[in-house]
């Protein structure tokens, strides 16, 4: 069996009285796409900083590609690429110069790094912008170039901290596609994100982190196993169904789980068949007109909510920040 690419055991980090990360352990195999999912302040960025050498763990051990680097990640830094949560390239340099500079930091010769910079600019759709200063780029372009800078030296391990936060939908989609392609070439990816759908779409394994602790980690298939076969209906009502209506619903439709969401939205889950028409009629008769009903399957978001107790709305809000 091959050695894990990243092996973290009992990592802990405190800042004064605040414990940012406590007893964080995971093992990431070569070629894994590992997601680290949690709300703001959960300890995602602190963990990534410890893994990449920008923070020293107070306790625990860390191995990267078999190199013991608990006290000093420097020995393994040539193997890793990092895309921080901020686009931190040099505003006064062009996109091409930034990539070439980043290649030089890893000892790449001029010809090799310039060829790689041109290739990446094309791959990331920045070919024409390559000779413009980074300071003049849009937010989405900045994120793309920051990701390109993280892989300019072809690292076998890539750390991404919130790569699609705060950028437009089109850029985010392009970035997800690029990351999937990158993973397809064998790169081990460690991704932190607020976006549960993003993690579900990209990652093979996921850890949920809340208040500095990992509360659950498993493959996406295993995480979704408890909700497999469950049908879900999201009902958008004209007014919020009160407790008596909910009690009647539960009585009239046994085997269904009714959960009021924010506003006038009602979530209905069932492990068996759905009889939508009687349900909607029942609501209408009880003075709760239905505007729209959307059928679906429970997602990783539902698993996250049930495991962490953190509401969907909170995660969505944080994703927009």
């Amino acid at each position: 069996m091959s050695k894990p690419m990243i092996l973290a055991t009992g990592l802990r980090k405190t800042f004064g009285d605040l414990t940012a990360v406590e007893d964080v352990s995971f093992s990431i195999e070569p070629g894994d796409f590992f997601g680290f999912l949690g709300p703001n302040g959960a300890g995602k960025t602190t963990t990534i900083k410890m893994l990449t050498g920008l923070a020293r763990p107070d306790a625990g051990s860390l191995e990267i590609a078999g190199i013991e680097c608990s006290g000093n990640v420097k020995a393994a830094q040539h193997l890793i690429g990092v895309v921080p949560d901020e686009s931190n390239l040099y505003p006064e340099l062009t996109g091409f110069e930034n990539l070439s500079f980043c290649g030089a930091l890893y000892g790449m010769g001029r010809a090799a790094r310039e060829e790689r910079a041109s290739l990446l600019l094309e791959a990331f759709g920045l070919g024409e912008a390559g000779h413009r200063k980074f300071g003049g780029y849009s937010r989405g372009m900045k994120r793309k170039l920051t990701i390109a800078a993280g892989i300019v030296h072809k690292p076998p391990i890539l750390f991404l901290d919130e790569p699609t936060t705060g950028i437009d939908v089109e850029s985010a989609r392009h970035i997800r596609k690029l990351l999937a392609n990158l993973h397809g070439t064998g790169t081990t990816v460690f991704l932190t994100t607020h976006y549960i759908e993003e993690a579900e779409r990209l990652c093979g394994r996921i850890a949920f982190i809340v208040n500095g602790r990992i509360v659950r980690q498993d493959s996406v298939d295993n995480l979704l196993a408890p909700v497999k076969g469950i049908s879900q209906l999201t009902v958008y009502c004209a007014n919020r169904p009160d407790e008596s209506v909910l009690a009647d619903l539960r009585h009239a439709f046994p085997g269904h789980v009714f959960t009021p969401e924010k506003g006038s939205v009602l979530s209905v889950q069932s492990s068996g068949a759905f009889f939508i028409a009687p349900l909607l009629s029942f609501l209408e008769e009880r003075g709760v007109p239905v505007l729209e009903a959307v059928r679906g399957r429970p997602s990783l978001e539902d698993v996250f909510v049930s495991v962490t107790g953190i509401g969907r709305e909170q995660m969505r809000k944080e994703g927009k920040r």
Binding site: L54, K74, N88, Y106
Partner: protein, 245 residues
């Protein structure tokens, strides 16, 4: 070899992004010219005074040229997180800090040449011990750059870097024997003078230009080397403590 490529890339990037910008070049030229002119007019002794003023003005040009940008740019890069990109590279921290200071050192050395070239134009500048002059200029530039780096790591805001730099630099103008001997200072200030590295740099330049000084050049150079090592070690320690959390 790989570290050499990284070091050269950081130096080139800093030169292009910061040191070779027109405002900085003009500052580098105008500042020593202004000091030379001011002390020349104040002395009233005509061209004969140039040789007497040259060690102080040269030392000052290096000090201000070297520290003017370094403290600010390092603080700026740390503030906008681009310095983290350097910390994430496999370049050892010691080499990284040398790379960041090399641009400032080079700029300080070039600044030192401004008053010297002027003196050559006006006086011909004969009898200078160039073998002592060049290593001394380099040592003053190195110690000044490390001082700037020490300031940059000690503060977290760009304006703090500027204030702290001036807090250190301006007293040196008067305390380091640049334009009048340390022996002319009040007795209670003299220990402070001898605690400042520029005192030893200016005295060595006096040996190079005038063939005389108040301390031996060997002692001066040894003290300057000691300051370089001390400031560099302190800076590395501070970076590890403050920036690698």
């Amino acid at each position: 070899m790989k570290h050499g490529i990284a070091l050269y890339a950081i130096l080139s990037k800093d030169m292009k992004a910061y040191y070779l910008k027109p405002p900085n070049i003009s500052w580098g030229l105008i500042f020593p010219l202004a000091w030379t002119g001011m002390f020349f007019i104040r002395s009233g002794g005509g061209l004969d005074d140039i040789m007497g003023l040259l060690p102080g003005v040269t030392a000052l040009a290096i000090l201000f040229g070297t520290t003017s940008m370094l403290a600010v740019t390092v603080t700026f890069e740390k503030k906008n997180s681009s310095f983290d990109r350097l910390l994430l590279s496999p370049l050892p921290l010691e080499m990284l800090m040398l790379a960041k200071t090399s641009g400032a050192i080079l700029f300080g050395v070039v600044n030192a040449m401004v008053p010297v070239l002027l003196a050559i134009v006006f006086t011909g500048l004969s009898g200078v011990n160039w073998a002592l002059f060049f290593p001394t200029v380099l040592l003053i530039a190195v110690v000044s750059a490390f001082l700037g780096l020490f300031v940059a790591v000690a503060v977290s805001e760009v304006f703090e870097a500027q204030t702290f730099s001036n807090f250190i630099r301006f007293p040196m103008v008067f305390l380091c024997g640049l334009f009048f001997p340390v022996s002319d200072l009040p007795a209670f200030l003299r220990p402070l003078s001898y605690a400042l590295p520029l005192t030893y740099g200016a005295d060595t330049l006096r040996w190079a230009f005038l063939g005389k000084g108040s301390m031996s050049p060997q002692l001066n150079i040894a003290v300057l080397c000691g300051y370089c090592l001390l400031l560099f070690a302190l800076t590395i320690r501070n970076v590890r403590r403050k920036w690698i959390l």
